[in-house]
Structures are given as structure tokens and as C-alpha cells.
Symmetry: C2
Subunit: 439 residues, 2 copies
């Protein structure tokens, strides 16, 4: 029951669906802050030169122009950002003197890509990123910290369980070089397609690009290795290739997997087919799939850059991950996998006897709001039955009747009791709309 | 001490400034929900035809094009929205069958206008809107409800007091027509400039556009009238002009002012020079200035549309207001008028004895986070003095030392006590960063 959007690729939610999105976004924000990450927002636009600085044209940039731009205007050519990493790199260099390193930041914003829209792929979508950025150096332990932040955040969302899989570019590169495969990037791009096109087709690509059949076999053997402990390294070494870079990568990968296993058993596993083909990572790489929804592809990905940015004098290494919030939400809302306890924030509808007495209802509503109870006053002084129906259609649990004394009716049970707007409280579970997973 | 932005007109905040913005945005969101308004978000883009549908070209639309668009692509021509009202109108018509009316919605999003940047005017900025939209009819009492929602929200922000001023297009139109001034829109546009250019210049414009000097004098006399009670109507009528439309407008305006005065004395006043020159309102109009910062212009404006939207069969009248969040924030942060209790979300930094014992620090941090205490682990196992300095520079109030037993130091007082990470809580005021007005 996927939702039709009036402009293909630009998802919009109904108010009750937006309650779920808000719940997801605030849970992410709270968890990122719980781990000490500072929130930032960057402008939606970057100079096109910045957006293209890594030769990245696959992301289908949207260019801006002003409808009424003066001829010869010297405005920089601007485009909408297609991720939150390019803006982070620019922000860090620009504000380096005013930031403290290592700089831990999260960023939850819309990004735009003019790609052909398809299931789970949008032209406008929300990403939620966490990164830590160092100045000149960045300790290896952050490679374990960052995916654990995401695991903590994802585990609090009303979504199916997510497993984070990690690999390390140094392992792949060291291994490929040791077996004589020199086009490392080409091999990573081919391996990246393994889940989609299968071993045979990947092998054919590798051979077509210059690998021997034996090299292709070995590259595929490496990609088969998965595990949650140090035995992963043993199995890689058992394939026979050795190099310093491979050893370094295996050491980093095993530290990550073992450390994460001690703190959050089962949260992160090694999976050597993770390649992140088109991205420019230099060490650890991450991907994550929702169990039972592997067809969606990765919902949380990232990795380490030895040089996220540089200003000529200093280098800024970084490691981080990004959740594709809209991709997850579209599945959760489209299936649907969740429900909300009501359609509006309102907990109490104050009834209106007749228009002459609307002020009494307004006053009762103010008293309830002053104590944090979301309250609306009935828009019309229709018969009480009709006012109760207004509440019922929206899932508003309580209707308040001003009088001497006032009374409040739980419209689910029909129970009505005398109440004082300066004292009465609904049960905690009725105070705000709640979101729960459907069984 | 205004902040320099690297791209003129596109404000970006440092992490500690973003804490203030987040506080402002979440306060607005909570207050709007307390009044029963549903949050929605609309896509950032609209078809250009929609953006121009009211002949509105003064807002300097940004057009989009795809860097790699295929020749002959049939993509609709898209532009970035310049406000949240045009998207609301489109969203309501599109989803009319799935919404419940009156539809109360709030919307907090960035909008874009390619205008020349100046103090308080940006090319990218955040607006926070509340509107109520009816189907075919919308009761008059919402004209009082909506500004009171904004007064409630604004009064909770760490900003100078804001006064909402209201007028009514029917008063102006009825009055102008009664005195024979037929170019009502032209007169409204001229009166709209009164605060900026003064009476003499406005009078000259009116006369240049066809008014007699006496008509110009009367229009200015109307614009002088202000007040917080029914005497406003008496003073208008004392000017001598009468018409049905004028009477209707005065009745609406007085109901609004008197009703608001009963519920929140002093919150809203009538001010007949409020014209909202370029906008297409049909009844009540609102503007608001921050006391002591009148030079910023209106920070919260809006009004009533008898037909916000129509789908040919049904009409959707609406009334609402919009806060210029970025305009307010730029002033509050630039002066500055506020300060935060610390620069990061973190309440506790867990020290690391040496890299071999980092895991013990990770475990203590997990226990603290599990009880909602924002916690970071020290990025390096430097000398404790250096780790404490890391906390101090960021304003993190507590440093945790794993040991037997663990201990926690309040680095402001220097007090250090034994503590259990499964039990200890900081005082509530240290749990999250707080924002306060500077005296």
C-alpha cells in the first residue's frame, strides 16, 4: 500500500504519518546528543564547484538559478547538496578556528538528488548523519564508537532490527595488490554489485577488466568471508595472500568487531563483501540492512576518510555513518509497520455549550495547556454528540465539558467524572500520541 | 557583533549557537502541539506555475535544473518554495479527502528567496507557520485563536517581548470606498510604507496615484488609530465614513481585540496602519515587532484568506501567522541576547586511564547514557589534567573516573565524590544545556 506522491520522488506525509517521522527524528536527535554529538545544520546550497570537487557526477545535482537574476550577476553558481558529507567538510574547514577537535557532530537534513525515482529512492529525502572529525589525527577507537551510536539510535526506533556490517578498504586493497590485481577501484566497484548480480556476473566483470580467472576467484573468496570475531582474520590469511596493508586492515577490522562485540554483542559483524564502490573511503566501511527488508538495500552506511577535508595546512580525517531516514520511513509507513495512538497531538477537546459561552471553554483550555496538556477548543458549538464525534474521528481521548463543576469524559470508555482544569491530569500514556510497532 | 556568513544571505550557526536555535524550534513545536496543531512538512519544491499562480514575482524564486537532465526531459519546471503558504494551499487541495477540517497545522521549514541579502533578510531562512484551514467555511473565532497561539509561543522564547498588532482589510477597504478612494490595493501599498517613509511621503504617493489631498488626509487619519478595546471602532466612525463593509470589518476587529484582551491582556492591539501591502488577505491582518528591535521589522505576520485555495468545487478559507525564525535568531545570536550553559550536549566526560582500559570507560558511559545522561568518553588517554581541560573548554560540568569505586568530579567546584554509574544523577539543571536571556 505504497503512497502515491503528487510529484514523483518527493515524498510528503499525512499529518498522522508525520507523527511517526517526528518520533523517529526526535529519537535520533536525543540519542545522538546522549552520545555527546552536537547538532549543526548547513545551508541547503553549495557552490557547484564544491559539489563536483570529488569528480562526483553520479549524484545528479540540482542547479539553482534566480528567476529574475540580473544579466552579468556575479552570484556563485549554486546547487542543492546531495549529501551531508560535502557540506560538513566545507563547514569544518571554514570554521576550524572556532570548532573544538575531535569535533563530534550530527546533522539531520533534507538532501536532493535528481536520480530516477524508484522504491526507496527519492529525489528529496532526509538523511541523519553522525561523524567525528579530527584535526590532523583521529584515533582508531572512533571507528567502533560511531557505528555503536547508530546501533543505539536504530534500536530505539519502531522499525525492524538492523544489523551493521563492516569491512575495511585496507583489507581489500592489501589483498588485491598481494594477488596482483592492480585496478583496486574497479574491483571494489564490481564486488559492490555482488548481492545484486551474483558471483558469476561479478567474476565476468573482473575478468573483462583484466583480472585472471584465478584472481577473480580469490577476490570472490575474500568477499564471502563474514563473522563476528577474530576468526575472520584467520580465514582471510588462510587464502594465502599477505601484505603490510592487509595486516593493518585486518588489525583495524578485528579491533572494531571484537570491541563492539564486548559492548553490544551481535550489533556489528564483519562482512568482507562490503565495498561502498563509489565512495572515497580509506579504511573502515559500513553498511546496514533491516532484517526482512534486505530488498531496500543499505539503510545506514558510511566509513572513514583519512582526509575528509584539508585547508592546505591541516588535514581533517573523519569517520561517520548516515541513516537514509526517508527510505526507512517510506517502508515503515507504506507497509505499514507502525501505528500511532491518535492522529493529532491533542489530548483533550474542550466542548463549547453555545457561541456565547465560548470564552469559558477557552479559559478551561488555557488552564489545561498551562500544565502541559495538549488541548483544542471545539471549532463549533454543535450538539455535544457532534463535538464528541469530532474528537473520536481524530482519536482525541478526552472531551472536557465546562460547567459547575466542569467534567471530563474518556470517550473510549464513556466514563465521565467531575474535574478541575487546574488539577486534572490524563494518564501519562494519553498525554502525547505514541508510536508502536505493529505485531 | 554580527556573524559573517561565507555565502551572503545563507546563515549558518556554530554548534553552540545551534543549541539556541534548537531550543527555539522545539519550544515552538511543543507550543503549537499544546494548542492541538498537527505538524506537517511539504517538499522544498513546487511547480513554478504554482509559485507564480498569484502573479507573485517579488519573492525572487530560485529555479531548479538538473545538471544532467536529458534533452527533452518532461520534468515539470520546479522552483524552491518562497513561503509555506503556497505549499499549504497545494497540500490541502491535494489531500482534501484525507484531511479533517478545520485542519490545524503547523509547519517549520526553510524557505528561499533570491532577494538582495541585508540585516535580517536572508536568501535561505526558517519560517514557523500556524494556520487553520476550513472547508467552505471557517468561523471567525479562529482569527483570535491563531495570534494567541503565536503570543503563547513567542512568550516562551528567550527573546525580547513581542506585541502583535492587528487590523482588518475590510475596515480599510470599506473606509477607502466610502471616501471615494477606488484604488484600494494601491492605497494599502502606500500605507504599508508609513513607518518607513513617513506621513508626508505616503500622502504624496496617494495623491500621485489619484487621491485628493482630503482623501489622503483621511486615509492617514485612519492609519493613526490604535488601541486595545472597542473605542477603536468609535474613533474610526468619528472620522465620518460609513459602509457595510467597514461595519463588518470593525465588528470583526473589535471581537478579536476584546476577546484576546480577556484571555491574555495586552497581547494584541488594534493598529490600523497594518496593511500587509503585497499579500492577498481578505480580512484580519497581523504584524508583530520585538520591543526594542523595531528596526528589524515584523517578526510574525499573517492574516485571513477567504480562499486560501480552491479545487473548483470547494473553497478552503484560512487564517494563520508566520514567525521569521531566522530573522529573530540572527538578532538574538548576533547581539547576543542569550547564552547557553555549555557548548555541547554532553553532561559527563568519562576519563580514560590508558588505552588498555578504554573499555571500562566505555562501559561506565553506557550505564550513564542508559539513564538519560549525555556522556562522552575522552578521545585520548592523556594526563587527567588534559582530559579535564577537554571538558572545561566545552563547558562539560562533570568528569567521571572509572576505578574501585568510580568517582565523579564537578569541575566547576572541584568537588569529587565516589559514585556508581548505575545510580548517580546530576542535578536537573545540569542534565541538558540550558538557554537563558542575558540581562
Amino acid at each position: 500500500m505504497a503512497r502515491h506522491f503528487s510529484l514523483s520522488g518527493f515524498p510528503e506525509w499525512l499529518p498522522e504519518q508525520r507523527l511517526v517521522e517526528q518520533h523517529v527524528l526526535s529519537t535520533l536527535q536525543q540519542t545522538f546528543e546522549l552520545h555527546g554529538f552536537s547538532g549543526i545544520e548547513t545551508r541547503a546550497v553549495e557552490p557547484v564547484s564544491q559539489l563536483l570537487s570529488k569528480g562526483e557526477t553520479s549524484k545528479e545535482i540540482y542547479l539553482l538559478s534566480r528567476l529574475q537574476a540580473e544579466a552579468g550577476s556575479d552570484d556563485a553558481e549554486l546547487g542543492l547538496h546531495f549529501d551531508l558529507t560535502v557540506p560538513l567538510a566545507r563547514y569544518v574547514v571554514e570554521n576550524a578556528g572556532r570548532l573544538m577537535f575531535p569535533f563530534k557532530r550530527y546533522q539531520i537534513q533534507k538532501v536532493w538528488r535528481g536520480e530516477r525515482p524508484q522504491d526507496g529512492r527519492f529525489r528529496e529525502f532526509v538523511q541523519a548523519d553522525v561523524d567525528v572529525v579530527g584535526q590532523d589525527t583521529l584515533s582508531q577507537h572512533h571507528d567502533m564508537e560511531l557505528p555503536l551510536v547508530m546501533v543505539d539510535a536504530l534500536s530505539k526506533l519502531p522499525i525492524p532490527a538492523v544489523v551493521v556490517r563492516a569491512s575495511n578498504r585496507k583489507v581489500a586493497q592489501g589483498f588485491y595488490e598481494a594477488i596482483g590485481l592492480t585496478d583496486v577501484e574497479g574491483a571494489l566497484r564490481a564486488i559492490d554489485k555482488l548481492d545484486k548480480i551474483g558471483e558469476k556476473a561479478v567474476s565476468e566483470i573482473l575478468v573483462a577488466e583484466g583480472a585472471t580467472p584465478e584472481q577473480a576467484r580469490q577476490a570472490l573468496a575474500l568477499a564471502q568471508i563474514q563473522g563476528a570475531d577474530a576468526s575472520v582474520a584467520d580465514r582471510v590469511l588462510a587464502l594465502g595472500a599477505r601484505s603490510e596493508l592487509l595486516d593493518e586492515g585486518l588489525h583495524e577490522l578485528v579491533s572494531l568487531i571484537e570491541g563492539a562485540g564486548e559492548l553490544m554483542p551481535g550489533a556489528i559483524m564483519a562482512d568482507l563483501k562490503i565495498a561502498r564502490g563509489l565512495d572515497y573511503y580509506t579504511g573502515t566501511v559500513y553498511e546496514s540492512t533491516m532484517i526482512g527488508h534486505e530488498d531496500l538495500g543499505s539503510v545506514c552506511s558510511g566509513g572513514r576518510y583519512d582526509s575528509l577535508a584539508t585547508d592546505g595546512k591541516k588535514t581533517y580525517p573523519g569517520v561517520g555513518l548516515s541513516i537514509g531516514v526517508s527510505r526507512v520511513l517510506a517502508r515503515v509507513l507504506g507497509t505499514p509497520l507502525v501505528e500511532t495512538s491518535r492522529k493529532v497531538p491533542t489530548a483533550v477537546l474542550v466542548a463549547v455549550m453555545d457561541e456565547e459561552h465560548r470564552r469559558a471553554s477557552d479559559v478551561a483550555a488555557m488552564k489545561l495547556r498551562a500544565r502541559g496538556i495538549a488541548t483544542e477548543v471545539s471549532p463549533s458549538a454543535a450538539k455535544f454528540g457532534k463535538q464528541i464525534r469530532y474528537a473520536d474521528r481524530r482519536g482525541i481521548p478526552y472531551v472536557w465539558f465546562p460547567g459547575s463543576p466542569d467534567s471530563v469524559k474518556d470517550i473510549r470508555s464513556g466514563d465521565q467524572v467531575d474535574a478541575d482544569a487546574g488539577v486534572w491530569m490524563p494518564p501519562l500514556e494519553d498525554l502525547t500520541p505514541t508510536v508502536r510497532k505493529l505485531p
